[in-house]
Amino acid sequence: MSEGEGKKAPYTLPIGPTHPALKEPVMFTFQMEGETIKDVDFAPGQTHRGIEWMGMRRNPVQIVHLTDRICGICGVVHTLSFCLAVEQIAEIEVPERADYIRVIVHELERVQSHLLWAGVAAHELGFDSLLHLTWRVREQAMDVIENITGNRVNYGIVQVGGVRRDITPEQHPLIEECLTTYEGLLSSLLDLFLDDRSIHMRCRDRGILTYDDAVHLCTVGPTSRASGVNMDLRQDYPYAAYGDLDVRAILPDQYAGETRGDVYDRIVVRLLEVGQSCGIIRQCLSEMPAGEITAEPKIAKLLAVCKKAHGEAIGRVEAPRGECLHYVRMDGKESPTSWKVKASSYSNLMSWIPMLRGEQIADIPIIVASIDPCLSCTDRVAVIRGGRRNILTKEELHRLSVEATRRLQA
């Protein structure tokens, strides 16, 4: 065809850990033939901070804020599943109102996270206008979240035993307004994403994950639902207030009439879930019971209760990216003896390999993004220790600082 395509010798293409296609650090090694991917290998763990290890040295109240920062996008889900586990060990009964507030914040997070993802996916396709559009409308959800929790990201609203802030009646109209906007926007968003010829060309039948692969590789969340696996903790294993609400998993055949397990189906699932979340929040707002918002408002007392607790438990929630699981074991000390975080992306990363095989370089960004990877979640555990020698000595650091001053004054 041309000189470029004619060269078919296999070669290796490394991508990462810092590459514009990857919003987070991960190291890929592709075996290429021309523009086609023959094989893939990847090394996560570029952002390990050893969070679990830190957690095993801190008390539950501190850990709650640490879990918030396992991942900036899925702030509430990690905290929630950690709290669910600790509450189970310490036998703390969470007030019903707190369950509802947890669900509301949880679903608001899902709305903003899916919109965020949609924008990022559009950006990976080179469709910046859609990035700007989705992120523009996302700001309304961010405003509501900021209003409820006091911060745009890292909400810090969930605490062991309940929630830290109530949703007051004055905030209801604000949330309602936001929901109305999104419900109105949804059909046009679906049009913009799913009817667009150029998106269709890039996403249909790209990065296919079959039903069997999805099950065998233990994928979770929208990634597995897009492959037709009926799996949603909110329906299967109702936690918090989801038992009272009638949630059903969203599968792509509800929109397109068929399931192909490709990137397109993942867009379908996520966009439809935005609408679903709006419905859930609406229902929660109208059915929210009155009462306390926390089982133990006195933090000092809460710490004492946690210190006495013995046992192990699992907290599990359906994060925007899929199942998020925290295993906690406490042995009557201030800090837990074991804490294992399983972020949703941890389960989904393996699915990259069947998805990417046989695709093109151009598809890498969108396929990698299509599982909505959250590597800071996944990487939290492992330790990256002294990989290489410390290249920078003190003198060099000094030299760099001197240069820094000079280069600005020059």
Partner: protein, 339 residues
């Protein structure tokens, strides 16, 4: 032989055209960014932003990577810019006859158009970065892809003009003087519109803009061809990008919308010149808006094989239909059929 007086005139006009090309090219980039920003509900940069960016790039350090072939790496941007400016010398600007119009025609322009692209390919390969190499390969593929429909457009227009008995149908001067719309009949006008569509699609590819910017794809190749360029060299490339934008828009204007104010309204000579220039600028901005700004914000990027199939299959077919329509248009009246 060229007389010395004539040579001096050409040199003088070349200098003027260079300055004009650079200023207007950057101005076009500024307008493009502003329009795109507005369409995305943003305020966007001030229109003079490309000038500021250029000034900044010129004071920045110019890094040549260790594993690059330095002379090609440094030469490529200069040649790219120079060749884009040279093309301008063959294009009519407003009612001004191109300074080199007598020495080259549309075929030459077509060849010249490949030089900036080839420079980017050479620069990309010389950078010694895998991303730049992939970008360079893609640039070549893209170039081969869009040359075919572009050739159809040029040939079709020139052929129709020749069939109408116009002298030198390939020179831009005569194409501009005899708009295809006034020469062709109704069938030909339909054909011409199809060719205009093809030309509008070739323009973003030539300028490596979305959806045909596979060679620079930021999210895939981190800037692709230009990944290793910085400072002065990058400034040259961005300048040639601006000039090329003007060139492509001017070619579309010359082939398809060549009218001038002065040919429609009687104006004093100086005023007419200015009016034509402004009108020309308006046409260029219009062409750029529809075929670059709007398209680039309204579409996703194609894959490289999709780029090839779009140009060879879809646009190639559309171009051929346009060509056939123009031929039929010329043949039918000649055969005595009145439509």
């Amino acid at each position: 032989m060229i007389g010395s007086w004539e040579l001096a005139l050409i040199v003088l006009s070349a200098v003027i055209v260079t300055v004009y090309g650079i200023v207007v090219g950057l101005f076009l980039l500024g307008i493009d960014r502003k329009l795109a920003a507005h369409m995305q509900a943003r305020v966007g940069p001030p229109i003079r932003q490309p000038f500021i960016d250029l000034r900044k790039l010129l004071i920045k350090e110019n890094v040549v990577p260790d594993n690059a072939i330095a002379w090609i790496f440094n030469l490529a941007p200069v040649v790219a810019l120079a060749s884009s400016i040279v093309i301008l010398l063959y294009l009519p600007i407003g009612s001004i006859y191109p300074p080199l119009g007598a020495y080259g025609d549309l075929i030459l322009v077509m060849y010249l158009l490949t030089i900036p692209a080839l420079c980017m390919v050479a620069g990309g390969f010389a950078s010694g970065s895998p991303y730049a190499s992939i970008g360079a390969q893609r640039e070549m593929v893209t170039m081969i892809a869009y040359e075919f429909p572009l050739a159809i457009v040029v040939v079709a227009v020139a052929w129709r003009l020749a069939a109408a008995g116009i002298q030198d149908p390939f020179t831009l001067g005569s194409i501009a003087a005899h708009p295809i719309w006034s020469v062709a009949g109704p069938l030909g006008i339909v054909g011409g519109l199809l060719l205009l569509l093809v030309m509008a699609a070739v323009t973003p590819a030539e300028l490596s803009r979305i959806p045909f910017d596979t060679q620079e794809a930021e999210t895939e190749l981190a800037g692709g061809l230009l990944v290793e360029y910085s400072g002065k060299n990058l400034a040259m490339f961005s300048l040639s990008q601006g000039v090329k934008t003007l060139v492509m828009a001017a070619i579309v204007v010359a082939i398809f919308i060549p009218w001038n104010i002065s040919s429609l309204v009687l104006l004093p000579e100086g005023v007419a010149l200015v009016a034509d220039l402004l009108f020309f600028l308006g046409k260029v901005i219009l062409v750029m808006f529809f075929s670059v700004s709007l398209v680039r914000v309204a579409m996703a990027r194609f894959q490289i094989n999709q780029v090839v199939s779009v140009f060879w299959i879809y646009l190639g077919l559309i171009g051929l239909v346009g060509l056939l329509l123009l031929m039929a248009d010329a043949a039918l009246p000649a055969a005595g059929v009145i439509i």
